[in-house]
């Protein structure tokens, strides 16, 4: 049998096993799920070995004599002491280095990209130059228009205010906080719509594959395996009925 054809059968089978969870949690799903974890962990290990050990450590050290790379190797090895209770404290050096480096790198870059840049773009003139005079552009569709600049300003400030914790939301503050929550909900709505879109796309992708694999050139794996899966589910359900119910 051709490797691709066999692959089509395996892929189809595993896809259907996972989909069987929709009916209920069952051994076929658990099998596929654990296989998934196993295979992806194995994959990660192989990739880490090949990329890190072979290409980033062994080759540079032995072929180019970059002895200094032994330092990160030592730090990395220290990290693995976490699983030896007596020496576990040594792993702290590794974490101290990584976390310190990460925090240090983060501070100026976060200020630059997520605070200054964002503030800079929010601070926009509420009037725009048109020839000699100044005008107020009303177009909602142009995100850079003055009207939208005002809306963005209101949105940013009211949401920032909503997440103020040292001021009571009362009086005029209450109005601002209410505006903030309306803005928040609209943004969550947009995220909701987009997430629905994303999940549906995933389903579309999987079904496209299943349709592709139902082709005669593969020997109709989708059809046959669907029958097998359903039969297995029925069988399993029968067997469970005969067993005494397990204690909760």
């Amino acid at each position: 049998m051709d490797a691709t054809v066999l692959g089509a059968w395996v892929a189809t089978g595993l896809t259907l096993f996972i989909f069987s969870f929709l009916y209920k949690d069952n051994p076929l799903f658990k099998l596929a799920e654990h296989l998934y974890v196993g295979v992806s962990v194995g994959y990660t290990i192989v990739k880490a070995y090949d990329t890190v050990i072979v290409h980033l450590i062994i080759k540079p050290i032995f072929e180019q004599g970059q002895i200094s790379l032994l330092i990160p190797v030592a730090i990395g090895l220290l990290m693995l002491t976490r699983y030896m209770p007596k020496a576990a404290w040594m792993s702290r050096y590794a974490f101290a280095f990584i976390v310190g480096l990460g925090s240090g790198l983060a501070i100026p870059r976060t200020i630059s990209s997520f605070i200054l840049k964002q503030v800079e773009d929010t601070v926009r003139p509420l009037l725009s130059q048109a020839g000699e005079g100044v005008t107020f552009s009303m177009s909602l569709l142009n995100p850079a228009s003055n009207l939208n600049a005002i809306i963005i300003l209101i949105g940013v400030s009211s949401v920032l205010f909503y997440f103020f914790f040292s001021i009571e939301h009362s009086g005029p503050g209450k109005v601002v906080a209410r505006t903030g929550i309306v803005f928040l909900m609209i943004a969550f709505g947009a995220a909701f719509g987009y997430t629905v879109m994303a999940r549906m796309s995933l389903l579309i992708g999987r079904l496209t594959d299943l349709i592709e694999f139902s082709d005669a050139s593969y020997g109709h794996p989708t059809l046959w395996l669907l029958i097998v899966t359903v039969a297995a589910l029925v069988l399993l359900a029968r067997r469970r009925q005969q067993e005494p119910p397990a204690a909760p």
Partner: protein, 275 residues
């Protein structure tokens, strides 16, 4: 039990069936509704169009198979466009489990467009460290990736001639499904090394990238399968994304109807309880 209450208690597997059919039927019998192009996708396309021949185009494939249906079509459309424009393509991934997929799709599109590995494109593979890889590439591409995916030393590969670091990249696009992804490429890459950056992402994270789009931190955004479909229509080579758009329409319609029914029942139950 009231009708509404009974209806709300129906077995959810019936709903599963409805949504399954809404996806399956349009895939089998497509209608082909027209797709409107949004400005954020168009700006990616226009920028690619404006690049001179043999410019360096970096495609970072930062997703894993879980997001394949959304981002794989985007990658294919972008690669087709880049090869057609005769750009020098440098591909890589920051997500370990995306490596095989990236390799496969690059080989496939290159073969289809008659491009040669090493001369027209190179696949650098994966390297751990996430953001550290980006910084390191900005400093020196050859220390970040001493060898390409096939194990060949990156120094001396013809397609990388004159490329020392990210500063020599004309346009980079990160197709991100999470972290590290588009944001990381901005913060640790473009911010300092000054190349133009575009983004492609899954639907889940797309809304979060709009502030970066507004401020010009990324010059365009391809969001989800819909974005991929737009890009496919722009380059005039329809693929999986356009094919999936009808199913997408049907499922969205189904969800909207379901939400509407849910709320009708909910409010009728509530008014009954009060009355």
């Amino acid at each position: 039990m009231a009708f509404a209450e009974r209806m709300l208690k129906i077995d959810r597997r019936i709903i599963f069936l409805v949504i399954g059919l809404c996806t399956l039927l349009p895939l089998l019998y497509p209608v082909g509704l027209p797709i409107k192009i949004s400005p954020e996708v168009r700006s990616v396309y226009d920028y690619m169009e404006s690049l001179p021949e043999r410019s360096v185009f970096l495609l970072s494939i930062d997703f894993d198979p879980a997001s394949k249906p959304e981002l794989h079509p985007q990658a294919i459309a972008l690669l087709r466009h880049a090869f057609r424009k005769d750009l020098r393509v440098v591909a890589m991934t920051l997500w370990v489990s995306g490596t095989g997929m990236a390799d496969q799709l690059l080989t496939q599109v290159a073969k289809e467009m008659g491009k040669e590995n090493g001369k027209d494109y190179v696949f650098l593979g994966w390297s751990p460290g996430g953001t550290a890889v980006i910084i390191n590439m900005g400093q020196d591409l050859y220390t970040a990736f001493p060898s390409d995916y096939g194990g060949k030393p990156t120094k001396g590969i013809p397609v990388l001639e004159g490329v020392h670091s990210l500063k020599d990249v004309a346009y980079a696009i990160s197709l991100g499904a999470g972290n590290p992804g588009v944001e990381a490429w901005y913060v640790f890459g473009k911010d300092k090394y000054k190349f133009e950056l575009g983004g492609g992402c899954t639907g889940v994270i797309a809304p979060g990238l709009y502030p970066l789009l507004r401020s010009g931190q990324i010059n365009g955004l391809i969001g989800g399968l819909r974005g991929a479909a737009e890009y496919e229509s722009l380059i005039g080579q329809k693929g999986r994304a356009v094919a999936g758009m009808d199913a997408q329409s049907a499922t969205h319609a189904a969800i909207i109807v379901l939400v509407a029914i849910c709320n009708i029942f909910y409010f009728s139950l509530r008014s009954m309880a009060r009355g």
